[in-house]
Amino acid sequence: MLKSGVLDPQGDAVQHALGALGFNGVEQVRQGKVIDLELADMEEAAAKSAVTEMCEKLLANTVIESYTVEILL
């Protein structure tokens, strides 16, 4: 996700489109992305730390983006 405070032109456009469709009360739209990783068998903690490192090194640009890691078993 773009960090709060970082302009999100795509989110703004989606918000306007929702308003045009008659969906009222949408105060803000922030657009992000989901990256699904399939990992070899490992402990949950090890998986979390590996994916966090991947986020820091490549998957997210932490200058403008925040990320959360969720392990689905």
């Binding site: 773009l2 405070g5 970082v6 302009l7 032109p9 795509q10 456009a13 640009n61 200058v63 403008i64």
Partner: protein
Amino acid sequence: MKVAVVVFPGSNCDRDMAVALRAAGFEVAMVWHKEARLPERIDLVAIPGGFSFGDYLRCGAIAAKSPICQSVIAHAQRGGFVLGVCNGFQVLAETGLLPGALIRNSNLKFLCKDVDLKVQSTASSFTSGYQQDQVISLPIAHHDGNYRLDAEGVKRLQDQDRIAFTYQSNPNGSVDDIAGVLSENKRILGLMPHPERAIEPAHGGIDGQAMFQGCLNQLASA
């Protein structure tokens, strides 16, 4: 003076860049992204425009992690000169060699047109061929040229005279109209406009020439 032009899958301004650099008098070596290191005795590295790796993940993100980029980072850390144009600027931002990030244009459109820029700093080799506050015209061609940097970062750039160019009429939403930024040592320039597309009258303008010529002159006299 010897320059390496880095080529990624999806680069499309690499040959224009080479032509512009040769016209200024540089000796040009094209370097494929899988090379582990730059050629010997390189004075300048130029990262051209295009869509490296299809802009997958984020513009420039995958190129920034390629083998050659580790060598470009090492070159920069030794005080070497680096020029990144358009996608090259995005790559440099992704490596962290330049601050900030480039996101989708505020109007969501791909912009392809000439824009007027003001020269904000002549304190770099790249901008030494221009006059302070000179207005020049260069083409832009990008979808993700909206420069984002927090207020503290922008202030740092201002205080250190590191804003190279600003847009006269902001086309893409960039903070403070910023079109190009310099590293702290002024040896790295990233900019969204294309100087290599404005080097002969048939291009519709020659305002890009002074960047390559100024750079060569300064490097040759250093």
